[in-house]
């Protein structure tokens, strides 16, 4: 799971934080509250999850509880891949 966490962090940092691993990005930082991701960003994130982890993100699953922080993403992926 720690590898998954790293992959997600790398994607967020590379794509939304201009490649700078900001100290502000904690595992529980809300992407929404911190202004890290906009609506196009969420679609890019979904594309990344689907390609990298070979899952299908359903429309019902597009909610902050699943996608809005590194922690939420890890929990969601764990559930999804069971």
């Amino acid at each position: 799971m720690s590898q998954v966490r790293e992959q997600i962090r790398e994607f967020i940092v590379e794509n939304f934080l201009m490649g700078e691993d900001s100290d502000d990005l904690k595992d529980d930082s809300s992407f929404l509250e911190e202004g890290i991701i906009d609506s196009t960003g969420v679609l890019e994130l979904v594309e990344f999850l689907e390609d990298t982890f070979e899952i299908k993100v359903d429309d019902e699953e597009l909610i902050p509880e699943n996608l809005d922080s590194i922690n939420n993403l890890c929990t969601y992926l764990e559930k999804k891949r069971k």
Binding site: G41, V42, D59, L62
Partner: protein, 488 residues
């Protein structure tokens, strides 16, 4: 009369009614009116009034509305800024617009490195109380021609242009929209479009003017959250741009739910694909669908297509709204024949005063009492207007108007790039996606990762290209102009 008078009228008719609700809670019309008055007086006592400007850098929220109306109440003009921006752009606007104060939050002040300067005082809306005053002062009544607000839009040259709107402009457009949408105090809406753009701002104006309720979602990142709120509050209206409806139809639960309370939906900011319109009608069989067209330069709205007409007139933006005259004219200013393409020109009390500090740019588009929109269109035998293309090359992506030139200038800063052309290509969700065609300087080619990183550093996130295409050369006319239409 001004927007403020219309709002005050709502406050005296419906004092206890919810005017706005955001994440922090809700506020009634009477409380909102008091908060606006207090904010306005606070600014006035700091010496801010007619002839001055106050910039606002806040997301959609109750605090935004208090600040926006409060600035107008003080007699000054409000200058809402796009919160998804670069420091460079914000500084450019502050330097050229020279506001006396900037209302923002700690979060944005930090993000954009903003501090108090000699020229601008910083008001932190989330903690500052220095601008709050309940002392007895008489605030100035605005004249209809006074500047009420300046909305910045993408200029074709890459630099943002400040559209100056008077109190009369806003009042005229607000009344017109209310009349064709038949808005009243029984209406309510979940607002997802940013108030700092003209479409979002028109939703704010019209609802406050009739005593309707606005539920604020400060973004549209999670459509299902928005849908939940629409269902819970039984809202009667919804407003979006093409990408909003694409997201609803293709990436949310929207089509699986029932919407009996939804009286109408509106779309502006680009044509609705006939297929999308049909799907929308299937999900919303009883809801009226208004397709609309407008420009910030016209406060917001210029035309609308009557609901029920969109199957008969697919692709049309309808006819002029009440109080506006529209014509489609050729190069000599003569109205075109049905089927011929010409430029849309507009006249009415909603047409802007001009661009802030840019008399030459203003003179180019405000001529002989008409706004020359730069939009090319045809008209059919019954006078319905069909937009064909923009004369200027702005890309419409999501709710944004984007200047390709600004993106090209940033990409050209890289040594590895010799030439670049940025265009909008059709996209199912966004309307248009940004594609950059890049010619490398030598055989080494382009490091796409580096290029994107450079864009992310120097452009607002919604302006970063979605795709980079490396190419050996760009198609050109004999005079050397890039034939962008071949790249679209």
């Amino acid at each position: 009369m001004s927007l403020l008078d219309l709002f005050e009228e709502s406050a005296s008719r419906f004092p206890e009614k919810t005017a706005l609700e955001d994440r922090s809670g809700s506020i009634s019309y009477s409380s909102l009116s008091r908060a606006v008055e207090t904010f306005g007086k606070g600014l006035f006592q700091q010496g801010i009034s007619k002839g001055q400007r106050v910039a606002i850098l806040l997301g959609n929220s109750i605090q935004y509305v208090i600040s926006y109306l409060g600035v107008m109440k003080s007699g000054a003009a409000a200058v809402p800024l796009n919160t998804d921006n670069t420091e460079k752009n914000i500084r450019y606007i502050l330097e050229t617009c020279r506001p006396s104060a900037l209302v923002t939050s700690k979060r944005f002040a930090k993000r954009y490195g903003l501090g108090e300067t000699e020229d601008i005082s910083l008001i932190l809306a989330d903690e500052d109380s220095t601008c709050m005053s309940s002392k007895v002062v008489t605030l100035p009544e605005p004249d209809p021609q006074d500047l009420a607000c300046i909305i910045y839009t993408s200029g074709t040259t890459g630099r943002p242009k400040g559209v100056m709107l008077s109190h009369e402009n806003i009042e005229a457009n607000t009344r017109s929209i209310i009349s064709y949408l038949n808005l009243g105090p029984g209406d309510s809406i979940v607002a997802v479009l940013p108030f700092f753009y003209s479409y979002g701002s028109s939703i704010l104006h019209t609802h406050l003017a009739v005593g309707a309720s606005i539920y604020i979602e400060d973004n549209f990142i999670y459509p299902n959250k928005v849908l939940e709120r629409m269902s819970r509050e039984q809202t009667t209206g919804f407003a979006g741009v093409p990408s909003t409806f694409a997201m609803l139809l293709y990436r949310s639960n929207f089509s699986k739910l029932d919407w009996p309370h939804l009286r109408y939906v509106t779309q502006a900011g680009g044509a609705m694909a006939p297929a999308t319109a049909r799907q929308l009608k299937e999900v919303l069989p009883k809801t009226e669908l208004f397709i609309m067209y407008g420009q910030t330069e016209a406060t917001a709205r210029l035309s609308y297509l009557e609901p029920g007409m969109f199957l008969e007139k697919p692709g049309s933006v309808g006819k002029a709204i009440p109080g506006v005259e529209l014509r489609v004219v050729d190069k000599d200013g003569k109205e075109v024949m049905p089927g011929e393409t010409g430029e849309i020109i507009a006249r009415g009390k909603n047409i802007m005063l001009g661009y802030w500090g840019q008399p030459e740019e203003t003179a180019k588009i405000l001529r002989d009492g008409w706004l020359h929109t730069g939009d090319l269109a045809t008209v059919d035998h019954e006078g319905f207007i069909y937009i064909k293309s923009r004369k200027s090359e702005l890309i419409k992506s999501g709710a944004h108007r984007i200047s390709p030139r600004e993106i090209e200038d940033v990409i050209l800063e890289l040594d590895s790039v010799s030439e670049v052309a940025v265009v909008g290509q059709p996209d199912r969700i966004l309307g248009e996606r940004i594609v950059a065609f890049v010619v490398p300087r030598d055989n080494a080619g382009i490091d796409k990762k580096e290029l994107l990183r450079h864009c992310r550093k120097n452009l607002a996130s919604f302006k970063v290209p979605h795709k980079i295409e490396e190419t050996d050369g760009l198609p050109k006319t004999s005079s050397g102009k890039i034939k962008k239409y071949l790249l679209k």
